[in-house]
């Protein structure tokens, strides 16, 4: 800090966690929370572009999308949904513990969140591996051999259904990949929070970083809540 600001404030004039340009801790916390909400608004639009593409093609090409969706493992998807919801619960408990100043509980819950997030990504890897195995990755190597249409008939390579199923998998990989990327970014941030919590940086007066990390994590969770039915349950609709 420059000497100017020190003379302006006097050393020790405010708590060390208060950045000098905010008037109070409350002001700082409200700003950080609003910042994260604005960031989340931006994220919604970010996913929105791809979801628009999904909506249009899903309506145009139901057969192909149903065939592609039929191949996805609903059990794994459901398990993953449950895992992610549990991680949101542990995250919320972690924020609560941080607000109460319970150091060990905060660290525990944050580590649990990381563990559940990693389980989710692990299951995702298993699912991706299956798609690679069955040549369902879009591109020149794509093959519809393993797909079945809504009537249980095999999908012929080169048919419209096969082409549209390829588009389904393009959107499947783009959307889930983008979602997974958000989790891969989130996990180290939670780890960082856990480390800071273990050093006793958070307490009732100041736990904003944990709280905004929580907001981000819940957002990523909610994106999945939308992706799961959109991608996995197409042939299951009445």
């Amino acid at each position: 800090m420059s000497s100017l600001s020190e003379t302006a404030h006097g050393p020790g004039a405010h708590p060390p966690v208060l950045r000098h340009h905010f008037e109070s801790l409350l002001n700082q916390k409200e700003s950080s929370l609003l910042g994260m909400w604005v960031f989340i608004a931006q994220e919604i639009l970010f996913f929105g572009g791809m979801l628009t593409a999904y909506t249009i093609y899903r309506n145009l090409y139901y057969e192909g999308f149903a065939a592609g969706s039929h191949h996805l493992d609903v059990t794994l998807g459901t398990v993953n949904t449950a895992v992610l919801i549990c991680s949101s619960l542990t995250m919320a408990l972690g924020v609560h513990a941080a607000a109460l100043g319970k150091r060990k509980m905060t660290v525990l819950f944050l580590l649990l969140t990381i563990a559940l997030g990693s389980v989710f990504l692990g299951i995702k890897v298993v699912e991706y591996a299956d798609k690679f195995h069955h040549h369902l990755v879009p591109g020149p190597g794509f093959s519809a051999e393993s797909l079945r249409d809504a009537h249980g008939q095999p999908v012929l390579d080169g048919s419209d259904t096969a082409r549209h199923a390829q588009m389904f998998f393009a959107l499947y990989f783009s959307l889930t990949g983008l979602h997974a990327l958000h989790m891969i970014i989130g996990i180290p941030i939670i780890a960082w929070m856990a480390r800071a919590a273990s050093q006793g940086r958070f307490g009732p007066v100041y736990y904003t970083p944990v709280e905004i990390t929580g907001l981000y994590w819940h957002f990523v969770d909610i994106v999945w809540i939308f992706l799961f039915p959109l991608l996995y349950l197409i042939p299951h609709h009445a």
Binding site: L4, H20, S31, V38, G48, G49, A53, G64, G139, M167
Partner: protein, 562 residues
């Protein structure tokens, strides 16, 4: 707030008194501590979190990008002097206009006013010490530089030829140029824009000084708030669209590929969903600047404050509903075209509200014709021409006639160059004493403003005629009867180039040799004029409290100043 101003010394003695003793040798003036001299060295700039220094980092970067974009423009105008494509190959010409557009739009115009003047002024205008997130502010500059490096890399290694609009399927399947690297650069830079917008929104909500209610906010801040909303809600869509182009090009995903049932028109929808509002990212901050300039240079409270403030928000909102007017000939449904056409007309209402209110402010005001005012008047005139020709283009029938002609080129240059850049330069001159602590040479300033105005009109007005007569954009061969108009345009461009080089020279000169400016050289109202020039690091030594409406030029006050 008293500060050292370094102005002329007090008159020495009374009339009739004995002549003063010979002046002592000039002492080096002791400058007060400010954001410029508080610390020195490269590190103190590259790691700064001071919004004013970050504004200067942006100023330097975008000036370089403007110069690069200008070189491409120069080459285009040189090529177009003759009807034959005799200077460059067609492939090279395609790359020139693409890179001119990419650099000017994404790396100059979009960050221009928000990242420099906005960054510098918003915290000061609202009585805060800094933006809400100073480190994110610095991060946004680094992200900008990273994005610029990707795009520069693409340009140095061969360039890109798709046009700045990256239309598929050419960009995904057929172009053999660096589409992915350029796109990645734009993708990355988008996040610097998002972070700037996020910072402005939170700052405006949470950092205002006591007493500074929303209805007292300077119009510059209102305009930037509206701009930030567009940055937050529009930019992520172009980011994901470019991502999809890159994925399609690299991995053949098929989202825009008709061979798989994809639709190239979807790309146009997604692209213009951002890129039309992006026009308002460029023009709204300029409108904010003009509102300040008009009141400051005519020393009169701006007429219709509430209307100007709300019209910024109206433009931001309407701007999201008109993207289809770029696609009248793309095969979208006629009904969609009708709706988009109608909505586009609506944008004229808030725009006209601003123009009329600025004009009404000037009525019976004591107008100073110093440089900032020349830019403001130029802006109002050129923006009106640009806006009205926008209405021509929003009309379904006429649009078909002039689609993809020089008429469109002239129209958006009137908005982006005649509007946004005039606003940017006007604002830069108006706040230059605050930024640098020095006065720029007024005579040179006026000359440059007039040269730019003349050069601009000579460059772009003939293009309206060219377009109406049928000259398509993006071609460097053209029928001989168009040559006279093209030569006029190129001649104007050379005048414009001189006009742009002049401020670069005299503003740089004034940083060292200009007369020192006091805190308020224009005698204008606003918190930024109540602190020293240049401001101290934390802007305000004591927390300001706002008790008045903004832009109060009371009669008593005037008397007190005299």
């Amino acid at each position: 707030m008293s500060t050292h101003t370094g102005g002329t010394p007090e008159p020495y003695g009374r009339p009739g008194a004995p002549p003063p003793p010979p002046e002592p040798p000039p002492q080096p003036l002791r400058e007060s501590v400010n954001y410029l001299n508080v610390s020195y060295g490269v590190k103190s700039w590259l790691l700064t979190t001071d919004h004013k220094r970050i504004a200067l980092l942006y100023l330097a970067s975008i000036t370089v990008m403007f110069a690069i974009g200008g070189v491409f423009a120069t080459l285009i105008r040189l090529e177009l002097i003759t009807p034959q494509g005799d200077m460059v190959q067609s492939e090279t010409y395609n790359k020139l206009f693409t890179m001119h557009g990419v650099v000017m739009v994404f790396f100059f115009l979009i960050p221009s006013i928000p990242a420099t003047l906005g960054n510098f002024l918003i915290p000061i205008m609202i009585g805060a010490k800094d933006l809400a997130f100073p480190r994110i502010n610095l991060l946004s500059w680094y992200i900008y530089m990273l994005g610029a490096s990707f795009t520069m890399y693409a340009m140095v290694t061969g360039g890109v030829d798709t046009g700045w609009t990256f239309y598929v399927p050419y960009s995904t399947h057929y172009s053999n140029t660096h589409v992915i690297a350029t796109g990645l650069g734009i993708f990355i830079t988008g996040f610097s824009s998002i972070l700037t917008g996020l910072n402005f929104i939170v700052t405006t909500h949470k950092m205002r000084a006591p007493g500074l209610t929303w209805s007292r906010l300077p119009l510059f801040v209102w305009a930037h708030y509206a701009t930030s909303l567009i940055m937050i809600l529009g930019t992520p869509v172009i980011a994901v669209t470019i991502l999809m182009v890159a994925l399609e090009r690299g991995l053949h995903l098929g989202i825009f590929d008709p061979a798989l049932g994809g639709d190239p028109i979807l790309f146009q929808h997604l692209f213009w969903f951002y890129s039309h509002p992006a026009v308002y990212i460029m023009i709204l901050p300029a409108m904010g600047v003009i509102s300040e300039l008009v009141q400051g240079m005519s020393r009169k409270r701006v007429f219709g404050y509430n209307f100007i403030a709300v019209s910024s928000l109206a433009i931001a909102i309407l701007g999201f509903l008109v993207w289809g007017h770029h696609m009248f000939v793309s095969g979208q449904s006629t009904y969609a075209g009708l709706v988009f056409s109608g909505l586009s007309y609506l944008v004229a209402i808030p725009s006209a509200i601003k123009v009329f209110n600025w004009t009404a402010t000037l009525y019976k005001a004591s107008i100073s014709l110093d440089t900032p005012m020349l830019y403001a008047i130029g802006f109002i005139g050129l923006f009106t021409i640009g806006g009205l020709t926008g209405l021509f283009l929003a009309a379904l029938g006429l649009n078909v006639h002039v689609t993809d002609t020089y008429f469109v080129v002239a129209h958006f240059h009137y908005i982006m160059v005649g509007g946004a850049i005039m606003g940017y330069l006007g604002g830069l001159h108006y706040w230059w004493p605050k930024i640098s602590g020095r006065l720029y040479p007024e005579g040179w300033g006026r000359v440059a403003a007039i040269i730019i105005f003349v050069g601009f009109n000579l460059t772009f007005f003939p293009q309206f005629i060219l377009g109406y007569l049928g000259m398509p954009r993006r071609y460097h061969y053209y029928p001989e009867e168009f040559q006279i108009l093209h030569v006029m345009s190129s001649a104007g461009a050379s005048i414009l180039a001189v006009g742009y080089l002049l401020p670069l020279a005299y503003l740089a000169w004034s940083m060292r040799y200009g007369r020192r400016a006091g805190p308020n050289p224009w005698d204008a109202r606003g918190l930024e004029w109540e602190i020293a020039s240049p401001p101290p690091t934390e802007n305000f030594l004591v927390q300001p409290v706002v008790t008045d409406k903004t832009y109060e030029y009371g009669a008593e006050e005037d008397a007190a100043i005299v």
